[in-house]
Amino acid sequence: MTAEPARGLAPRLVAFCEELRGEGVAVGTSEILDAFAALEEVPWGQQEDFREALAATIAKSPEDRRVFELLFDRYFFRASEAEAIERSIGEDRRYDGGDRLDLDQLREAVRQAIADGRDGEMRDLARLAIAAFGRRGEGSGVIGVDVQRIRRALGLQAQGAGAEQPALDRDRIERFERHLRRELERALIERTERLPPSRPLAELDRALPTSPAQDLAAVHRAVAQLKRRLATVGHEQRGRRRGAVVDVRRTMRASLDTGGVPLRLKYRPRHPRRPEIYVLCDVSTSVTSASVFFLSVLHALHDSFRKLRSFVFIERISEVTDIFERERDFRAISERISREGGVADVSGYTDYGRVWLEFLEQIVDDLGPRSTVIVLGDARTNGREPHADVFARVAERAGRTFWLNPEPRLYWNYGDSVMAAYEPHCTAAFECWTTRHLEGFVNVVAGGTPLADQA
């Protein structure tokens, strides 16, 4: 491809951008023009420079950058493979001597290459390893399985296998795994002489991690961004001049500077709306997967708002504000909630009706027009009385009421879900199972306009 740039590069690049657009990255014409301008300035024989120049001009947020990385690898790998098939170029040096290799030596060489972080070396060794372990690249036929098998056989662990082996960097091991994966794919393509169909990046890949078994750190990374946005909510309001009231006294004083001509208007400082937030979080089994995420949202909210009271509920409701205030560590919080919350009575099934009654009783005097109530739950009452009228009283007393439902809108009101009974009383109800949904919600709470497209 590099031999004839005039023929191939421009349309390829445009097609690549087209694919990025398909994944939701906003790539404008001006970005593509910039990319071409940038490519004129860098020696793009070097893959790193080529990639970085494209990324700097096309991917303009961390999220976009992640999608860009995923697609870049796939797209240009596929493009060059397609070209190879078209011109029927196979790779001759197949490292056939794989069986005769000393495995310990190979292991050592791989560790060394990973420790040094040299990509070229890693690529060669990946092919060597495939030849040695993967029965010349045939393997099980499922690439992910093969990668893991070879990795185990090589004894690659981030922690270091024993005391005498130095620990390896996790990122670099992942890089080696990428090389393995790519070489396996290449072998597969060469054998079958066609490209596997290209799939869109799984929606799951970008959805919120929901299973409690998943790394909690991943949940927290998703919330970190939300935390930063919420932290500036009050400040943004302060900067706006709209609807400001002129402070006559201070204006007159300031006019003394300019000989009595009031050139500079002084405004009354506007006090930012300091929201009092009540968050009610369902932690029953029907929302287990989502409640890990919701608890960490709560965790993040606690860092950002001083006037925040949080409650968890299943059959009964329990205030957990002080647990969040004392404990910094998320894991400790979820343990203490399950130990001390005392929210499950006998059955362990959610009873929304009873929860509203208890909530109203506990909090009735504190709710006012400046309070915001946020409910995190699936509105599945297990066939019990929903007490929508009590919920209506709560919503009426509070200034705003939001409902975040971890189920797609499609499933609302099916089975024992009584969302329809509650929704009319809420200021707004959102489905919330991806980062995008969460952002849409944050936007509304922060006083912005709702995203046009919630789906």
Binding site: A38, E41, V42, R65, A231, T232, H235, E236, D303
Partner: protein, 326 residues
């Protein structure tokens, strides 16, 4: 958009760097170890004459990058620190009202109070000339953006923490960033004589508008890997023992892994290294760590968490070592 690129003054190619490695070396000479993407973006910015938008967590050297570019290219650095409520008068230019008023007052005694009856036309002429005078450059207070545009020598313009301002301000920046010109109604358009290198930084506390992003090269800076951070620490305090530096950086990385209110920045690693040097510490054990950790951790609740987690680990390693020895 293509027209924009043409109407903007083209960068003087004689001064622009010729390769990415040249930029990296120049930055290294002034004490900034840039990684591959940062060097490449700095190079592209100078070649293409486009602003750089740098995002990343606090304390990874975003502002420092702009300062380093200014030092490496020998250009003056003009800095615009953004905050909530920053407006055009503070960022672009402002008329010096007081001076204008004085000027008008100085004019008035020459025209007698009865003059409106005597010759209204003459008075109007005088007024017109006074009007022209008070709206000349003499009465203009230049603010950072205008100063950068009007500078005779090429400069580096740093717009720090752009995410703190509101969207209206961003919209105003668009003209400056794509055309490199500022229009002042009374004076006309002031266009850049030289091409400034513009660096915008953002802590990503809010999403910037698409229009602004479209005009910039994007660079995401993250905390460096252990090796690179070690190089940075050793560059800034060369006397530090290599072993100690590695230990220090590893501990800092461990601390960053925790969920803290404010993770330690690179500058704080450097401060810590200097403090350890001053204290004459040759190893980083638990007691040294607990005495000095307030240099890298600056929140009450964070201190407790770090003391508990990292302190224990340091103790643990020590214990292991003792076991192995025994």
């Amino acid at each position: 958009m293509a027209e924009d690129a043409h109407s903007a003054p083209s960068p003087r190619s004689g001064e622009a760097p010729r390769s990415v490695s040249e930029v990296r070396e120049a930055l290294e000479r002034v004490g900034y170890l840039a990684d591959e993407p940062a060097a490449l973006v700095a190079y592209l910015a100078q070649r293409l004459g486009k602003p750089i938008l740098v995002e990343g967590p606090a304390g990874v050297g975003k502002t420092e990058l702009a300062k380093a570019i200014s030092r490496a290219t020998g250009r003056q650095l003009i800095r615009l620190q953004c905050y909530e409520g920053l407006d055009e008068a503070k960022a672009l230019y402002e008329w010096n009202y007081r001076k204008q008023l004085l000027r008008i007052n100085a004019e008035q005694p020459q025209t007698p109070p009865a003059s409106p009856a005597a010759g209204p036309s003459g008075s109007a002429e005088a007024r017109a000339s006074a009007w022209d005078e008070i709206f000349s450059e003499e009465f203009l207070l230049t603010r950072p953006l205008l100063a950068a545009i009007a500078a005779a020598d090429p400069v580096v313009l740093l717009i720090d923490e752009i995410d703190k301002t509101d969207q209206e301000f961003e919209a105003m920046l668009l003209e400056v960033l794509s055309e490199f010109q500022i229009s002042i109604p009374e004076l006309g358009v002031i266009a850049a004589r030289t091409h400034p290198v513009v660096v915008l930084t953002s802590n990503n506390s809010r999403e910037l508008t698409e229009a602004l992003k479209r005009r910039c090269l994007y660079l995401w800076l993250d905390y460096p890997e252990v090796e690179r951070e070690m190089e940075i620490v050793r560059l800034h305090s060369p006397e530090i023992d290599e072993q100690l530096a590695r230990r220090l950086v590893e501990v800092v990385h461990m601390v960053r892994q925790l969920d803290l209110k404010k993770p330690p920045s690179i500058a704080e690693s450097i401060d810590w290294a200097r403090a350890l040097l001053l204290l004459g510490a040759d190893d980083l054990d638990r007691s040294v760590f607990e005495r000095t950790m307030s240099i890298i951790v600056k929140h009450r609740s964070d201190l407790d968490l770090v003391a508990e987690r990292v302190g224990l680990k340091l103790g643990g390693i020590e214990g292991l070592g003792a076991e192995a020895a025994g």
